[in-house]
Amino acid sequence: MFSKTLHISTSPHIRQGMSTDMIMRNVVYAMLPLVVFSVVSFGLNALLVIITAVASSVLTEHALCRWSGKSSTVSDWSAVITGILLGLTLPPIFPLWMTFLGGVVSIAIGKFVFGGLGSNAFNPALVGRAFLQAAFPVAITTWHPSFLEGRFYSISKSVAAFPFSTPVVDGISGATPLSAFKFDKVTADTADLAFGFISGSTGETSAVLIILGGIYLAVRKMMNWRIPVAILTTVFVLSWILHIIDNQVYPSPEFMLFSGGLMLGAVFMATDMVGSPITPRGVVVYGVFIGLIVVVIRIWGGLPEGVMYAILLGNALTPHIDNLIRPRVYGTKKTKS
């Protein structure tokens, strides 16, 4: 009896059952409504952009793993997230060849060189996005109006631009609410902003869907809710104060909150676990810092939008936050760093 060899493990012998690939998968689920909405509002173009971003991220991850003689880590789903996030931050008529390049840069420079998942100091998708912003500043600020007639069966010339060639913008281009405000002091209707009847990146337009996705993740404990809350609160409070000081110069807090990539960034990018602090208090500092930089860049900077830069800066600051803010260990006096 009982001839089988026993399985030996060290304690604890039970696990909560959450696993990293499961978290990653759920983040993908939480973003799917955004993908669907962006296809609904921007049509085939947005779909192609997102698919290309995902494909290039996954392919790059696979290729690099192979090249360096490791087994492929595609199955942990993190490359898929990077791809979707990258796709969601690009304009709907962004050329596919540039999108593909962005995916390669995201994974290669944003993740692989750092040692892969868990070591990437910066959000890979944002590294790719920042690269594209610097490389192709015109294409990445060429926006497209949403809910155009015929969007489901036509592909923009710009999207289909031949690799390495300059995209040609056909038809109308639209300004994002933020650039409209920055340059012409025109603010958009808050309801339009919240529900996504505006121009912008493929995934940033519908604040409501982003929040719903965030709530899903927060409830399933797969996202640190403190991060978006800290960022959004900071942006709201700061812009509210400024708005009170001079409501002609400074936009309303709700405009600040719902426009641009703030929601998407706060909910899906700043919350990237690898690049954010690990302690609850550290996370709040991180969120407040990002919110502050967003407001500074949007209000006083030369660019209409600063969420991407704010999060990358937050990522760079994270090691220091973790280093400086450590919880007091049980039974010890206040620890110094």
């Binding site: 500043p137 015109v138 600020t141 060429t142 650039s179 340059f183 012409d184 030369g302």
Partner: protein, 235 residues
């Protein structure tokens, strides 16, 4: 190690310091000689090249002239001849044609661009009361984006005839120069922006707007100073 070096590592103190002094002075003399020689040797050519470069710019913004004279703005708001070396002063370059007639004036202005301070030169024709030319002296604007302000034909055509007419009492510009969004220019005093280089192109509009509001009334009222300087006594 050679014997020489071993010796030099343990020198006799007094002899060592003496040797040190000689060496330093010797090297100092050689260096000074080389520097002064190269400075003197290139000085003339550099000055010529620099002057040429500046003239080229001034000629560009004030069409039809063949020589210029530099003036600087004093604290009292008057213009006096200058050698153009003091960079803290606001400089203007009066342009004259072959017959020494005062044709217009190039005004230096600067302001905040996208990446750093932008320094520009724009030409003003007091006769027509318009801006007649524009040139970027110094810019660190993003290549391929912000630097369109130097290349974009549509943008540059803004400054072929930009109205800066003064009010009746000559105290200020009737319609200050303002930047507008690309394609929305309706009046001759508006500067049409560049799509994709909004910030930089607006910055130019603002710099000219600000500078012209201050400088144009002053220049217009002192037209005589420039006209009379055409044939200065000093030369």
């Amino acid at each position: 190690m050679s014997a020489n070096q071993i010796l030099s590592t343990q020198p006799n103190p007094t002899e060592g310091s003496k040797k040190m002094l000689i060496a330093m002075v010797g090297i100092g003399v050689i260096c000074a000689l080389l520097i002064v020689l190269s400075y003197e040797g290139t000085k003339e050519r550099i000055e010529i090249l620099k002057a040429e470069a500046l003239e080229k710019a001034v000629f560009k913004v004030v069409p039809g002239i063949s020589k210029t004279r530099i003036f600087e703005l004093t604290a009292e708001g008057t213009f006096v001849l200058s050698d153009g070396k003091d960079r803290s002063k606001t400089l203007v370059y009066a342009g004259y044609d072959d017959s020494d007639a005062f044709k217009g004036i190039a005004i230096e202005a600067s302001g905040q661009g996208y990446a750093d301070i932008l320094r520009i030169l724009y030409g003003y024709d007091p006769e027509e009361q318009t801006v007649v030319g524009f040139y970027v002296l110094e810019s660190k604007e993003t290549p391929g984006l912000g630097d369109k302000i130097e290349k974009d034909e549509d943008f540059l055509s803004n400054f072929k005839a930009l109205t800066v007419a003064l009010t009746e009492d000559l105290s200020k510009i009737q319609n200050p120069v303002v930047p507008v969004k690309s394609g929305l220019k309706k009046n001759p005093w508006e500067v049409d922006g560049i799509t994709g280089a909004t910030i930089s192109s607006r910055a130019i509009g603002n710099i000219i707007g600000e500078s012209s509001a201050k400088m144009i009334p002053l220049i217009y009222s002192q037209k005589e100073t420039f006209i009379s300087a055409a044939n200065p006594n000093s030369k």
